[in-house]
């Protein structure tokens, strides 16, 4: 186990892509302390900002408010990063495997263009989670992002595969230009959900204001959702699949593209 404690809050965001199990495993304590981080254009040593305990491990714990520390877990392929406070932008970007757990909040671009692994944030996150970076054809292509709180704009923008589950509300353009994969919106979304959606599935447990380019198909209980629910339960996410309790309204679109995406909106059976 390697433990980092933030001892000095960086004046501008600190770029710390060295904080990945792939980079830390096999390194002695002195080598880890000397790892490069960038403060603006200035290259610094990791121990200018963190107290470093432990060595040679693919398990990393970060204590303190790291909301200004960017690129934690970038391109990691194994191991575990536990963050006891907040995390900065680009957490787990390009991630290939392993797990990241954040007790506090994280910022924009969580798991952007990731291909595997699991990121769990207990609090709120910013926008563009699991998204494609500007210009890229595809966002996340695999893996799982689980958010306990709310999320910002463009959740899962251009995602191709994988699962994003947000327990709280999200803002505009969830699933923008989505090409595949699954987004679960526990607390609904603001406007333009699924805009330019080509394929993929968005499941909302709260009512949505949908674009006119989504066509209503029917209300039913899709069989595949029972299989999904079983898998999601192992991740601690629950979606209703009891037909007695209600049904999902299925919408297809976005016909502006035209796309074959689907949006399921949970509708509980009325009590009357």
């Amino acid at each position: 186990m390697i433990t980092l404690r933030l001892k000095k809050q960086p004046t501008v965001p600190l770029e710390a892509e060295a904080l990945s199990p792939d980079r830390l495993a096999g390194q002695g304590n002195a080598a880890i302390r000397a790892l490069p981080v960038f403060l603006g254009k200035r290259q610094c040593r990791l121990d200018e900002f963190f107290d470093v305990d432990g060595a040679d491990s693919d398990q990393l714990e970060i204590h303190g408010d790291a909301a200004r520390v960017k690129w934690i877990g970038r391109e990691m392929s194994r191991g575990l990063i536990k963050i006891h406070g907040n995390a900065g932008m680009h957490l787990g970007a390009y991630m290939k495997g392993g797990a990241i757990e954040v007790a506090g909040n994280a910022s924009d671009w969580v798991g952007a263009e990731m291909t595997g692994g699991r990121i769990r944030v207990a609090g709120n996150v910013g926008g563009q989670i699991g998204a494609a970076y500007r210009g890229s054809l595809a966002g996340m292509k695999g893996g799982t992002i689980l958010i306990g709180g709310s999320a910002g704009l463009e959740v899962g923008m251009r995602m191709k595969r994988g699962i994003i589950a947000v327990a709280g509300p999200v803002r505009d353009f969830a699933g923008l230009q989505m090409k595949g994969g699954t987004i679960i919106l526990g607390g609904g979304a603001e406007i333009r959900t699924g805009a330019w959606m080509f394929r993929g599935t968005i499941i909302s447990l709260a009512p949505l204001q949908l674009l006119p380019t989504f066509a209503y198909a029917s209300a039913y209980m899709p069989t595949f959702l029972r299989v999904y629910a079983k898998h999601l339960r192992t991740l601690g996410v629950s979606i209703p699949v009891d037909a007695a309790a209600g049904a999902y309204q299925r919408y297809t679109g976005d016909s502006a593209v035209p796309g074959k995406g689907e949006i399921f909106v949970w509708q509980p059976r009325s009590q009357s």
Partner: protein
């Protein structure tokens, strides 16, 4: 003073084919002998004249638009870090200005031609070329959709049109004249294209693409420009366009012309499903007509960015790919389209395109008339030329690659039947001596006494790709600029410009037209001479001489 000693020299312009001899350099030029100075031991190495790229897109508004449109390519691109000799930059599909110079020089290329410059963005282009280090540069001016010129042709005033063209060439400080989809870009502004050579361009009653081509080719010859009309034919990329290309070549009989990226113009079939190679038809005609030169415009599988003045084609490509599309309107002069594209071996059309480029290089029998290009960044990046050289030198490697193509594609090409293998001597022709001759650059592309001392020295290697990608030394204007892949010395190259004769009074005609139709003032239009760093005025062979 420098002596390159004991290398095996390939200097086709002087008929030197693999002879072991010393090359001596003094004051940036090749000389007969030097006494003293540094000796570079090139024993066992191969010595070539510096490479000349006759058709590439490395600077200007369109390229900058492509850079802005594809941040994803830049994220994945090779990075150039700031060092003692180099500025920071990035490589990839559309390298930044400084990186362009390092990449070309690193591959042994010392002269390149930016093939498409609108007059309106000539200043921008020269600014970028000023920042493209090491290599010498020249540019071709987009002219076949200039509405001032077309209006004069419509009115039958060819004489005045000639003076306008000559004035514009000097105003833009360029080396040659380029025609892109003649009439088609003008028509595109009305949502149309110019697909028929002998039908009037939309908005005109008399001007046809054929007339524009004939008029411009004639003017260029009459001006005595060192490089003939540089032509991108109508119907680029379209199945069945071989008919248009052959028809265009007929229009050019009696004039010189350079057919750009011929690969994109040699397809048969009626649609995307029936598209096939017609390289034999093109090569057969081309071989018999010595007034023409061409460059391959070869395609390699992988990511590319297509960027051309051919707006209507780019709109079609955008519709086919569903990817990003950029479109520029350049007032009365031209347009431009940008579409990022990925060539895939599994795709029938792409497989045919890949084969056609190589087929043309193998079927056109005179290497002095076909040159190695990829129409960078359209068919592939220029830094991938060594991959093509390797394919040209090894028939068995080509045949192995062909086997991997879909059966449907293999039935539409005949690359596997071609057994020709390029020798090093022929590679030196298509990468240097040939394009230099077609450009009329007498000081380039050879190692005879008096030539510019642009020399590449390779370690001999049966793997042509490796050999040509990593020269042992690159010498530019007598200075060693690259040594074992490292940039050692950076100085800026020259910019070649021509000034055809024109009647100064043509400005009295142009100025009012301009003030009525353009968004900038006439005085700001021409590129000032001082703005072009390293400007070298090249002579024209015009009877009256340049004024």
């Amino acid at each position: 003073m420098l002596r390159i000693s004991g290398g095996k020299v390939y200097d086709p312009a002087n008929s030197i084919n693999g002879v072991v001899k010393d090359i001596c350099i003094d004051n940036g030029k090749i000389v007969a002998d030097v006494a003293g100075g540094r000796v570079l031991d090139a024993a066992g190495m191969i010595v070539f004249p510096g490479g000349v790229d006759i058709h590439t897109h490395v600077a200007g508004a369109a390229l900058n638009f492509a850079r802005a449109l594809t941040p994803e390519n830049q994220r994945a691109a090779a990075k150039f870090l700031h060092s003692e000799h180099t500025r920071a930059g990035i490589g990839g599909q559309t390298p930044t200005t400084f990186a362009t110079g390092y990449l070309y020089a690193g591959m042994g290329y010392t002269t390149v031609v930016e093939a498409a410059v609108p007059i309106l963005s000539a200043k921008h282009t020269h600014e970028e070329l000023n920042d493209t280090p090491i290599i010498d540069k020249a540019a071709c001016l987009l002219m076949a959709n200039n509405e001032i010129v077309m209006d004069l042709l419509e009115a039958g005033d060819v004489e005045r049109a000639k003076h306008v063209v000559a004035w514009l060439i000097w105003a833009a400080k360029v080396y040659g004249v380029k025609a892109v989809n003649p009439g088609g870009v003008t028509a595109w502004k009305w949502g149309k294209d110019a697909k028929q050579l002998h039908e009037p361009v939309y908005g005109y009653s008399k001007v046809t693409p054929a007339k524009i081509i004939a008029a411009l080719a004639g003017m260029v010859d009459e001006f005595g420009l060192p490089h003939p009309l540089h032509l991108h034919c109508n119907n680029l990329g379209a199945p069945g366009n071989v008919a248009t290309t052959l028809e265009t070549m007929k229009v050019l009989e009696g004039n010189r012309a350079h057919m750009a990226h011929l690969q994109f113009h040699a397809y048969g079939g009626d649609d995307w499903h029936t598209m096939r190679s017609e390289a034999t038809q093109i090569a057969e005609y081309f071989n018999r007509h010595k007034n023409l030169t061409c460059d391959a415009g070869a395609v390699l599988f992988g990511n590319a960015v297509t960027i051309t003045a051919d707006g209507p084609w780019q709109h079609l490509l955008y519709q086919l790919t569903g990817r990003k599309w950029g479109n520029l309107d350049v007032e009365n002069e031209t347009g431009c389209g940008i579409v990022p594209y990925t060539y895939k071996g599994s795709n029938l059309v792409n497989a045919v395109q890949w084969a056609v480029g190589l087929e043309l290089l193998l079927l056109i029998d005179d290497p002095w008339r076909i040159f190695l290009t990829t129409d960078h960044p359209n068919g592939a990046c220029f830094w991938r030329y060594p991959e093509i050289i390797h394919l040209l030198m090894h028939a068995d490697v080509r045949k192995e690659r062909v086997k991997k193509l879909p059966a449907k594609a293999r039935a539409r090409i005949f690359l596997a039947d071609l057994n020709r293998e390029y020798s090093l001597y022929e590679i030196a022709i298509i990468t240097s001596a040939g394009p230099a001759r077609a450009l009329g650059m007498k000081q380039k592309g050879h190692l005879g006494v008096g030539a510019d001392a642009d020399v590449v020295i390779f370690n001999q290697n049966p793997d042509g790709e490796h050999m040509f990608r990593y020269p042992r030394y690159v010498i530019k204007a007598g200075e060693i600029v690259v040594e074992e892949g490292d940039i050692k010395n950076v100085r800026n190259g020259q910019a070649f410009v021509v000034k055809p004769a024109f009647d100064e009074k043509i400005e009295d005609f142009l100025k009012p037209v301009f003030q009525q139709q353009y968004t900038m003032s006439f005085e700001n239009y021409p590129v000032e001479r001082e703005r072009v760093h390293g400007l070298q005025l090249c002579p024209t062979s015009q009877a009256g001489g340049s004024s």
